[in-house]
């Protein structure tokens, strides 16, 4: 179902002219209201009137997370605090949090985009939404909440944690949709199964899952354990929160970016060069409709690629492939660039492996070492040593073949690796710095 037929199916030419009109307004506004942008544009020798086509966007400098930190907390807001009705902050796992503000209209825009996202997952006002994203500074909880209300669905404001209670609510309230991180759905499945609940017989029909990278194998695992359709949602607090892009249930292949509100570019993370469609690189967003906290060419550090092929759902918006990882999650082992997502996708190709793993990076003498810890589930357990050793060898060989690095594989007992309710931390770097 399409929530906003007019905008979501806009012909590409009309969309481009809408984007250009809005881009000019944004550039004009940030130049005159945010000192940071005026300074950066002046340094780059670009004036707002130089933006005459969408291609001219490339003349503007990037904005980075560091810029947000340097202007902590409110330095990049383009409206006075009296016009701001809400503040959120990013999780700040790697330093100071970044603060984002919303005007009343921003909240409405966000609610609309979240409503579009839920509708793209097939939801209507007849659905009951179990919202297990955290409520608070994190944008997930309230973002989904307002969107579900805008759609007219019934929303259960569960927030995160208290997993046994969540299982009870899932059974008794009969929600038809669940919103949380993909790893948390598996955790719910695990806890529910331990409690003796048949997690496949719940009324749940669809999961709108995001806020951490995941892969196709994890999707299948979630879908089979909960008997739902699992869809990917994308967003980040700096740009708005959840609802920047959403996978449609009809196509189930890539996430439509709500391009009437954002311009997306993909760049080479090391050179900053804009890449042609189809090539993988770092996503860069420019907000077109945000009032309180507009961002121009914001580097997300999320890695993906764009797909221009027409989607069967009828939306004309470009699709991004599910996020493959973060450019700053990248680590270098013996000179090879490695993303945890690459290792995950190798592991997920091996039948029976659980999507729980840890990467331990260390140094022995002058040599970097990588240990991959993988949980032994009953599906891969054998009473014969050699079968388990063959499994270890197979994993190490696949990692070597596909990624080109030598890793030691260590099998660990089930359920001993960290299960996070938020973003999973899968890399431990013990190398001396």
């Amino acid at each position: 179902m399409i929530f906003n037929e007019e905008f979501e199916t806009l012909p590409r030419e009309a969309l481009a002219s809408l984007q250009l009109k809005r881009l000019k307004q944004v550039v004009e506004r940030v130049y005159h209201t945010v000192g940071f942008y005026r300074k950066k544009f002046d340094e780059a020798g670009v004036k707002p009137e130089d933006i005459r086509s969408l291609e001219d966007l490339g003349r503007l400098p990037f904005t980075t997370k560091q810029d947000l930190r340097d202007n902590y907390p409110f330095g990049l807001f383009s409206v006075p605090m009296s016009n701001i009705v809400r503040l959120h902050a990013s999780s700040g796992t790697t330093g100071k949090p970044t603060v984002v503000g919303y005007t009343r209209r921003d909240i409405e825009t966000w609610a609309e985009l979240m409503a579009r996202s839920l509708a793209a997952a097939g939801l209507t006002k007849n659905d009951i939404v179990h919202n297990a994203y955290g409520y608070g500074l994190f944008t997930g909880g309230l973002g989904v909440h307002y969107g579900a209300e805008r759609l007219g669905a019934s929303v259960i404001p569960m927030s995160g944690g208290n997993t046994k209670k969540q299982i009870l609510i899932l059974q008794d309230f009969g929600p038809t949709a669940i919103c949380c991180t993909p790893s948390y759905t598996l955790y719910l499945a695990e806890v529910g199964e331990e409690m003796g609940v048949d997690m496949r017989s719940l009324r749940l029909r669809v999961g709108i899952l995001g806020a951490e990278p995941w892969g196709e194998r994890m999707r299948k695992e979630i879908e089979s354990r909960l008997d739902i359709t699992a869809l990917d949602i994308y967003g980040l607090s700096e740009i708005m929160g959840p609802g920047v892009a959403m996978e449609c249930i009809e196509g189930k292949n890539g996430l439509h970016i709500f391009e009437d509100n954002f311009i997306v570019e993909v760049i080479d993370p090391s050179t900053g060069e804009v890449l042609p469609d189809g090539q993988a690189g770092e996503l860069v967003f420019t907000t077109l409709t945000k009032e309180a906290f507009p961002l121009v060419r914001y580097r997300t550090k999320d890695l993906s690629r764009l797909m221009r092929e027409v989607c069967r759902c009828g939306r004309t918006f470009v699709r991004m492939e599910r996020v493959m990882g973060r450019s700053d999650d990248m680590f270098i082992i013996r000179g090879v660039n490695v993303f945890p997502s690459q290792i995950e996708s190798v592991l997920m190709e091996i039948e029976g492996l659980e999507p729980h793993y840890m990467l331990i990076i260390d140094r022995e003498g002058a040599l970097d070492t990588l240990e991959i810890q993988v949980e032994v589930s009953e599906r891969i357990f054998s009473d014969e040593i050699r079968r388990l050793q063959n499994l270890e060898r197979r994993i190490a060989k696949d990692i070597k073949d596909y990624i080109g690095i030598t890793a030691k594989v260590k099998l660990v007992e089930p359920k001993t690796l960290q299960r996070t309710e938020g973003k999973a931390q899968r890399v431990v770097d013990k190398r001396p710095r």
Partner: protein, 143 residues
Amino acid sequence: MKVEQISIFLENKPGGLSGVTRVLKDAGINIRALSLADTSDFGILRLIVDDVNKAKKVLNDNGFAVGRTHVIAVEVPDRPGGLHSILDLLTRHNINVEYMYAFVERSGENAVIIFRFDDIDQAIQVLLDGGFTVLRGEQVYSL
């Protein structure tokens, strides 16, 4: 003729084994025979217990990966050459032993050896034809 064995995955770390024995103790389960196979990183504990279903359940409840495998228990004459007579028979029939270990209790005058084969049915037939006594599960659990 088949005996059910449970096997448990253990990381090589202090307290790993006692974690299992504590769970079994608390559930009142008696270990009838055991063997531990290990590598530098992990081990596999194989157990014959008096209540297989209960043991598997309580171990699962405590987060262990538990396998169930069929093995057979064979009476072996308790004298020099007793074990060899069995292995010799198996070799002549080209039957491969995956692993084996001894049972704690005797069955009358005989020792009891637990065997794991790839083709368990063929092995049982060969042993019976060779005149050996293969014990039933219930006999073994209550030895």
